[in-house]
Every structure is written in C-alpha cells, then in structure tokens.
Symmetry: D2
Subunit: 358 residues, 4 copies
Amino acid sequence: MKKLDVAVLGATGMVGQRFIKLLENHPWFRVAEVIGSDRSAGRRYGDAVRWVLDEDAPSEVLDLEVKPLDADFNSMLVFSALPKEAAMPREMELAEAGHIVCTNASAYRMTEDVPILLPEVNGDQLALVDEQRKKRGWSGALVANSNCTSVPGVMTLAPLRQFGITKVLITSQQALSGAGHPGVPSLDAMDNVIPYVPGEEEKVEAETLKMLGRYDGGAILHHDAVVSATCTRVPVIDGHMVSISVQLDHDPGMDGIIEAWTNFRGVDPISSLPSAPAQPVIYRSQPDRPQTRRDRMAGNGMSTTAGRLRRCPILTYKYVALSHNTIRGAAGCSILNAEYMAVMGYIAEFQPAVGAAI
Amino acid sequence: MKKLDVAVLGATGMVGQRFIKLLENHPWFRVAEVIGSDRSAGRRYGDAVRWVLDEDAPSEVLDLEVKPLDADFNSMLVFSALPKEAAMPREMELAEAGHIVCTNASAYRMTEDVPILLPEVNGDQLALVDEQRKKRGWSGALVANSNCTSVPGVMTLAPLRQFGITKVLITSQQALSGAGHPGVPSLDAMDNVIPYVPGEEEKVEAETLKMLGRYDGGAILHHDAVVSATCTRVPVIDGHMVSISVQLDHDPGMDGIIEAWTNFRGVDPISSLPSAPAQPVIYRSQPDRPQTRRDRMAGNGMSTTAGRLRRCPILTYKYVALSHNTIRGAAGCSILNAEYMAVMGYIAEFQPAVGAAI
Amino acid sequence: MKKLDVAVLGATGMVGQRFIKLLENHPWFRVAEVIGSDRSAGRRYGDAVRWVLDEDAPSEVLDLEVKPLDADFNSMLVFSALPKEAAMPREMELAEAGHIVCTNASAYRMTEDVPILLPEVNGDQLALVDEQRKKRGWSGALVANSNCTSVPGVMTLAPLRQFGITKVLITSQQALSGAGHPGVPSLDAMDNVIPYVPGEEEKVEAETLKMLGRYDGGAILHHDAVVSATCTRVPVIDGHMVSISVQLDHDPGMDGIIEAWTNFRGVDPISSLPSAPAQPVIYRSQPDRPQTRRDRMAGNGMSTTAGRLRRCPILTYKYVALSHNTIRGAAGCSILNAEYMAVMGYIAEFQPAVGAAI
Amino acid sequence: MKKLDVAVLGATGMVGQRFIKLLENHPWFRVAEVIGSDRSAGRRYGDAVRWVLDEDAPSEVLDLEVKPLDADFNSMLVFSALPKEAAMPREMELAEAGHIVCTNASAYRMTEDVPILLPEVNGDQLALVDEQRKKRGWSGALVANSNCTSVPGVMTLAPLRQFGITKVLITSQQALSGAGHPGVPSLDAMDNVIPYVPGEEEKVEAETLKMLGRYDGGAILHHDAVVSATCTRVPVIDGHMVSISVQLDHDPGMDGIIEAWTNFRGVDPISSLPSAPAQPVIYRSQPDRPQTRRDRMAGNGMSTTAGRLRRCPILTYKYVALSHNTIRGAAGCSILNAEYMAVMGYIAEFQPAVGAAI
C-alpha cells in the first residue's frame, strides 16, 4: 500500500516543524507539500525555515518548495499549524474543497460541529464529522486537537468521569515552547515565573468541558462540571505540568483512581494506532514525580504522567499531571487524530489496516 | 544610644548569611557573635563560610571567630538559622537562659505558646511571650517566623479576614533558594519542575491557620478556614509565587479586596519599624504581574506583591501573590519581629524610639 | 546649582531604560526629554514603554511625553541608545546643532575624530572633541562608549600597556541582555550556548585597539597589538565574562600585574566623578571568582572584576575578567563620559565642581 | 552467539547510569553485574539508585543486586565509573585478575602503559595493552577513556596532525553534568558562569598531547604541541563546547581543514563498530552552529560537531567544537573502546564479527 501524501500548513513555524519531524518515517503518511506565509512561499523549505527543534529536519522535506497559503494542492490530508487568524477562513475552505483538515489552531475548536478530538477520551465525537458533511455539504472534514494546556487535565479526568466529576481546579506550570518561536524573550523567561498566559485560562475552562462531553444525537453535550484554571509560565523548554483538585460524586478510593488511570485505553482500535502510546496515562508512585524534564517524553511524548495523588481538604482529590505540549498537546495529537480518521474510514480511498506496516 | 549586640546561630548557612547581610548597617542591631557547627567553630568567619549571596559579606563580620553551638555568649538578642534538629534543644535552652530568640527554624512553630510572628498580620500574638515567661519561668523569649511558602498567602489573606475566609486553595511555584545551599542539584533544577517539596504542604496548611488566628485569653485560636496546598519547585533563584483561590462569606467586590490589600498596614508602630516596608501588600494591575524576578525585591524584599485578581468559578476569588522567600519569608521577617519586640519592651534595657536613628 | 536637563534618545529600548534608571537621583543630570520611535512618539512614556528592567521605572519619567526622533528639543546633553541605523544621520545632526551627544550606538565608534571614551583608560582622547569642533565647525560633540564586550578586556589591558602588550586572545561568555529586548528567544537561550554574536568579534578586535591607543597630535594612534576574539552567548541575564591570554614584552610577574590592576585609577578627577567606581579593576584571589551573577554588580556595575591570573604556556599570562554589559558596557559608561566632559568644560555653561552635591 | 556479560563499577552514579542506559539493547554486551559503594551494596539496584537521567532505567537492570566494590564477580569485561580514589587500587587489581577494565576514572590516564583510547584518533595505542600484559604479567587489561573536556579538542585536532600542529589554545564552556550528581548546586549554576573547574585545565593540557601522540616501540610518544586551556562552567545540562585557536606548520586552507574533518574516520573496522558514529567529526557551515542543546546528540552523542572555522590573527585558525560530555566524553567512549578491543581480539573467547547482529 502506498503512503498517503499529506500537506502541512504553517510548515515553517514551531508546530509546523513538529508535524514534519513526527511524520518522518511515519508508516502511513508522507509529507508531500509544505505551505507557508508569503515570506516563505516560493522558496526551498530548507532555506525558508529557521529550524528550531533539537533534532535536525528530515532531509527529504528540505528540498520541497514552500507553497503560498492560497495555493491549490493535491494532498487530501492536511495538517494545519496556522496561527488563528490565518486559519480562520482557509481551513473551512479546504474542508469544503474536500480536504481532511486536522488542525492545531484554536479558531474553530468551540464551533458546534467541530470536534476537539483526543481519541482515547472522546473518539465517539469523531461522528460529528458526519454532521459536518450533512449540514455543510462537505466532502472533507475539519477536526481540531486540544489546546496544549488542557491535555494533562483532560487525559487524567477522562478516566474519572465514571465517578461523577463536579468541580475541577487547575493550576498550570507551562513550558516556553507553548508560546512558539520566537515566543517568550529570554530576558522575560530566565529566573522568572510569569503567572499569565493570554487567553489560556478561558480556553482551558471551555475546551475541557467540550472534550469531556459525550456525543448524543448529532451533537456534543458538554460536561457539566465547573472548571477554574490559573495558567502560569515557568522557565522550562517543553512540557506542561498541572496541579489539579477535583471533586467527585463517588469516591473510588486512591487505588480506584490509580486503577482507572492505569487501565485507561480508549476504544479499539485506538491503542493500536501508530502514534498511540502503549499507556495513555501513566501513574508514577514516587513522591517527586512526574518531573517536567524527566517525564515529558513518556510514550514518545504521547503519554500523560500523573503523580502525587492525595486527598484534597477542599475538593475530593488532588494530583499533578504532565503532558508534552508540542507532541500530545499539538502536532502529535493531530497525527493520532488523522490515523484514527483513516481507520474509521473518513479518508476516502485510504483505509489502512491497523498494525499493518504499509 | 548604643546599638544592641546580636548573635546569629547557624551563621554560615544561607539563611544565616541573609541575617548577616540584612543586619549590615542596621540602625539598632549589630552582629557581635556568630555561632556555627563543629566544622566551623574556632575558625574566622570569613574562612569558615562559603558565602553564596550575590552581594559580598560585610567586612566587619569576616573577622569574628565562629563559636560552637554550645558556647556561652553575651548577646541578649539571638537570630537563629539553625536546622530543625539543632534548633530543637538549643533554642529552648537559650530562651530559658534569658535570651530573646527570633528563629527561622520550624522546630517550635506549632508549639502552643510560641507565636509565628508576622507583625502586620498578627502583632497581637506577641503577647504569647508573656505566657511563655509566666508558664515556663523564662526571662527570655522564643518567637518564630513563618515558613517561607506560607508568607504570600498569609500576607494577602490577612486583610481579607474581615470578609470571612472559609476555604483557601494554594498552589506554589517556589524558588530554589528555599532549599538552602547546596540544596537542589542543578541537574534536578534546570529545565524542570519538581512538583514536590518534602513536608511543605503540611506546614503551609497548618501554619497559615495559626498565623491568621487571633489571640484570646492567653492562647491563639487558630483560624477555622480549610486550607489545601500544593507545593512545586520551579527553576528560579529567589521568590515564592503562589496561586490562590479563596472562598469568602461576604463578597466585597474586586475593588473592596484591592482596597483592603492596599490599605493593609498592621497596628502602630509596626509600619515605622526600620525593616517594615512602606506597603506590606502591593497590588499590581498589569495583567502579567507580579513576576518572580521583577517583583521579588519590592519593598526591599519585605513587601508581598499581588495581582491577577478575578472571580473563581469554584470558590469566590482567585489571584496570585509573590514574596521574597529568604527576606520576608525568613531572615528579614525575624529581624522585623525583633524590632517589634524591642519597641514593645520585650528586650530588657533596650527600647528604641521608633523612627530614631540611634 | 540647577541640575542639567538631559534627553534620552531611544528611550523605550532596553539601554534607554538603563539610562533612565541610572539617571534617577543623579546629582548633576535630570531626564527632561525622552525621544522614541514613531510607534512611541506622542504617547506618555509610561504607556509607550514595555519596561523590562527588574527595578521599576522612576515615576517622574513616566509622565513625560515621548517625542519623535526628528523633534527639536531643548536639552543640551543627549544620551543616545538608538539602533545603529537610526543613529547614523541623527547623532551627527544633533552634534552639529550644538548638542553634546554621548552615544551607545556603534555607528561612529570607528570614525576617526570620534573617541570611544572609557575615562580611566583613555581620558586623554576626549581632546578629540576639540578636533571635531575645529574640523566640523560644531559647537556640540559626539562621544561614543565602548561595545559592551570589549569592556572587560580593555579595562584590564589598559593597566598592562606599560608592560608592552603585543598579542591578545579573547573568548567571551556573553549575557543575553547584550542582545536587547526581545533579543534572544528563550527557546534559543535555555540550556544552550550559541558560539556566535553577529559582528561582535570584528568590533572587539578593532575597538579594543582604538581604545587602548594614545592621543597624539590631534589624532588617535591605535595600539599596535594583535587581537583575536571569539564571542559566545551563554544563558545568563547580565554580565559579560571574558577569558584572555595576553603576550607582554616585559614580564612584571604575577604580583606586578595584580598591583597594576589594583592601583589603576585614571587621571584626576575621574575617580571622583559621581558614577566612577571606587576601584575600576578589582582582582579577586579566590580560584572560582569572578562569577557572572555574583560579581557583575561590583562597584554598582561600574567595576571590572578580574581573577584566575596564571601563566599561559603560549602567550605570557591568562586570566578572566567580567563587566556588567548594560551598565559599564553601555549606559553607565556614557553617563560617566558625560560627567567627565562636564568637569572638563565641554558642556557650555555647565561645569560642576567634582564632589559637589549640586 | 551469546552476548558477553559485563559488570559496571560505580553503577549508581551518573556515569554509571549512562553506562547502563547505553548498554540497554547493546548487540554484543549485556549488563549482568552492578557494583556500588558500601551504602548501596546488598540492595536491589532499583532501590539503591537515585536515577537522574531523563530516560528511565532499563527494567532488566533494576532487579540486579548491587555487589560491594571488593566482591568477586564473573564478568570478564568491566566498565568503571568509579571516583578516582576508589578506582586507584581496585582497577589495577581487576586487570591483574584477568578482567578487561574500560575506565572513565582519571586515576591511571597518565600512567605510561595505559592508553587513553579514542579509537578514531589513536586506535594504534591499543597495542599498549600488549606491553601491560608483558610488563605486568596481566591477562586482563586497563584502558582509559578521555577526560570529557578534552574530547572536542582531540577529535577535531586529530585530523589536523598531518598539517603540523604546534600550538593549541582552548577555552571551554562546559556543562553541569560534567560535575556529576549532585554536583553543582543550582544556586551556583543558575544565571551564572563559573570560570573554574578544579584540576580540569591541567588534565586537558596533558591528556590532549598523550591522546594525539603516536605509538612507537612499545610506548606512546606524546605530541609535542603546546596546549593552553581555560575551563569555564556554564548553565547547560549536557554538552561541552570549546573555542580553539590552533597554529599549523602547513596551511591547507579552510577547505582543506573542512575536508580533513569530514573525511576523518579512523582505521578499519572502527567505523563499523556498534557505537561508532557514521561521521566522527561533522562540520556545520551555518554561522551559529554548533549549539550545545541542538547538536550535542549528533551521532547519538558520539559525533563531535565543529563550526565557525576562520583565520586567527594570532595563531593560524580558530573554530568551535562540541561533544556530548557523558556520552562520547565518558560512558559512550568506554563502550566503543570495549567494542574495539573485542574485534581486535583482546577479550578472550569473545570476538564478534563486525556488523554481525549477534
């Protein structure tokens, strides 16, 4: 079976680079087209990009010519790392034109018929694409991934839905890469905590409930818990840590929670997808784990690591959780979403068998 | 008037160094004796100390001979930066022997007749010293200062007691200097968040309520709010930031809270003491302040900076606050405590007039 | 005597902020006018500036209106923190119009009749201003300060000129603030060394020799040593460290070098100027000093700290030296230059007596 | 073919952990025994070790029992990460007892008949083991790897020996991991350069010349260049950067040098060994490379990256080079040394065919 050609929108930015790096040697997908801003369009990708990731760019992508944002292109599957404003009109146009758009942009996350897909958590919400197609007459699709800061919360809360979540209080310690490149100036970052990330608390509070919601009758019923978020920026490179206090209707005991996390998988065949981690939520029992630098790459950056579970004197339990913000919290999640869409038959004429090396 | 000779216990450690540095050019006190561990005793201070503060040690202290912990010494006023175990028997012995002991150790903070003194917050609790003397037959006294992580919470909660505090949820982003020197290895600190500080959450939860309590009938009635704390270590040098959600019985509105903070002073003559800041709690209205590096030295490290006040969907309000952990959270607070004791007549034969340059 | 009104060009940038902060409470000068880019012009300084220094801006400057770069203004004395391109025409125009321009820009440093003034090192070169006025018909003047990276080298080499310097090999470890704000992105700075600072090596090699030169017959004879520089950027906030190997014609012995450094003062009355440090070059004998964070503020950021003097197997000696890059290496030096010009009679109708509080 | 059992001495320290991590899934070797200090002996490795690497420990090693330093053990091949003092007697005893000891300790590096083996550079010096055996009557062997700071210099100087190296001036910017764990306290490391690493400059100056020397008549003739080193510690986690100026008798031109680096391989079959990098020295032409964080893992941490080659006004050329200090500069190099010894027949009864998956 031939690999599926894919296009990366916003390919020169930091999340665009992550897409390209994570797609290197991907068993199903192959980066065939890169789309950039006017500044980059027409240039060789290797010349246009200021590569900022620690590992080098895949050599086969360096020679691609960057296409302008409004170009026609051939790839049916599109990964978008566009900034919100650029994403706004273009992603809709592409979905309408028949492309499968898996986007990291926040532009349409709260749009009613666009799922914020985290397959293990809400794979059922992928059915919203049927509504998109029916309602909008699209042959394509538009699927968002989560805001990076919501991920460690949502991944660890999803297995607790069965116990009746009513209140969630989240405080984040977020990494610098969440702001992209150039992003936070080093003079603001070094030896400093900035307890403010513009717009982030509102996103975490709203998107968390949509993601934890359930699909019913062609729409998502948002979860009805109350979420309160405080977002802070700390001087680490990658990895968003959160401290969470959660109120539960039914108390399963500490062991019950750890068991729920450890056994959490999502429905078949999600755990067999190429980018799916062996264990989506890992609980570490050492008192000083997770640690940002040491645990962010768990499951190749796709696992969430929880720790320090203990009773909360105000709500029911408190704990900490960590996810890699540019892998599971951005590009890696979008790729997993596309894999899930492929096996579920949403990508016309491309339906790999799970586990099959193409 | 002659300056009062003081002794510093644990003088070679990091907090001991802070005591010595903050007492340089103090208008009332003069470091006359330095007490150290067996390793240091008998040596010149300048030779025994591995000075780690950024500003140099005062030259007049460098030539003092370090005395052993069990030495007799002359200074009536003693600042203690001893580790808990060493503090355990020695501080009591000294208070019994007539010394005024202002300690940074945690050993006796929760002892019933030992106040954890933050003058603006609970200056009335100094009266506990009368109980100490009556009950224990001491001519001296033992007064603790707060755990460093509790300070930004307590300083900003104290002005809100009038509104009926019932629940407080605190998440800290603490500095490396809180662990002393050598403390946290750089390989654990760099590019990392460690969401665990041994014993700290318990201290914050207990000491906060004692500090916020009121003095009544010879004892402290602890505040009856519920406190839940999560403590994390982040890679900054100095300054403990906390995110707080608080539930209030009476809602004074955002302006009412900011006004309470801005006008908070403590009873006379506290605000006129040499180490007292002009404004104990500063509210900054910029959305991205306080910041650890840029605000930790507010009020020479003795002010607490609050910011980001907003409604909490779960409790009533949420905000962030920052205090310098080795100044207001340790040595600076003990010195302020001693100043307050002096003007209140607790140091025999030494009662400076406030505002007087000696 | 009334303080002299001064204008700051490029007042909203990082070096502009340093000028404003260092001039707060200056005994002779008072910031009366602030000049900024088109983006800032017409706005209140406090609104236009994104203040990045750790200490707050002086309140009296916050309410000044930012004037555009081409505005006429009244202050005879002008401190310029303009970027090179903006400095290019404007500084010359202002000198011609009668202003005394003390600039941090690199635009004219290598211009034949513009001195790069480091008073202790080459105070005699101030006489070049007479040539400027004669040759160009100016009533004003244009005086540059050194490139920040050259300072620790030049300050420690100047006292060694008497021993016949022939070769100098310099490797720098430079601070992030040398690139201004926003400057180096945190994702490039954290946990990283960037062994390249565009244009810096050429500047260090050329400017060092001009500064170490001597004034003779209306011109500067550049020093004839050979300088080889390597410039690297390391993740520290402030403070440029350099490692130097130097070849000398006459070997004064280690003690002779330390003595030359320790006694180095510059001609009278330089050491009595308000911004002059008590000791321009401090030698620290501890094997692990200077350290960037602990020594950069020596002499209020105006002293250079040397250490680790030892024989070099290839040239004669090697040592390390450290200067604060935005104080002695930028704004602080320009202010010292202006003070020196004032006492030497170069600022018409303003000649303070040294040591006099105005 | 069965994998060869190996023992790791000093297995709980940071370099010991690197050995264990790098040997996970090694095609020829298998960690069968771990030896630790008295504090660890008798305990399960997983309980005794405080694991500090970012990737987790291999699970199969966690259950090994730590043996005491003086224990007998079975593994013929021994990797030693002992501190110098512990290495002193023990490594000699083990070699005498027939073990092949590949050590990271500095104890015997300058011993006449012990090679400091960097296979690509001085593979011929392995013949010294024959002298060891002849002279000392050993059936085992003792082979050292380089001091971590010498590596980037030696790797890039080796290909230039053909041009007649006469003088080498090195300034390092070394990583924190070079000091082990706990090593440098974070309060000393953050926002700081410490221009001093005890004993390091002497090691670099001496060991470099031994490594670059040639084997002749049963002994190593040290290279006769003059080396001058300055060692500084900067706040990066891993990766030692050096700036080098070198004087050459014959100038091959810039292209000649880059070609010498790019083609440098070492004699067969070194480049086919399992741990050998595809390219030992990589030259990057971008002006701002190598960078510590972005290039330290080149060749899985076994390649040295050079950059910024340009003329030196004092010596002939200058450039920068970077090697991973705990991989190529420590454990990784020792493993490569053992692989080389195996294929060269120095490990009795174990001689793998190169390239063969066992």
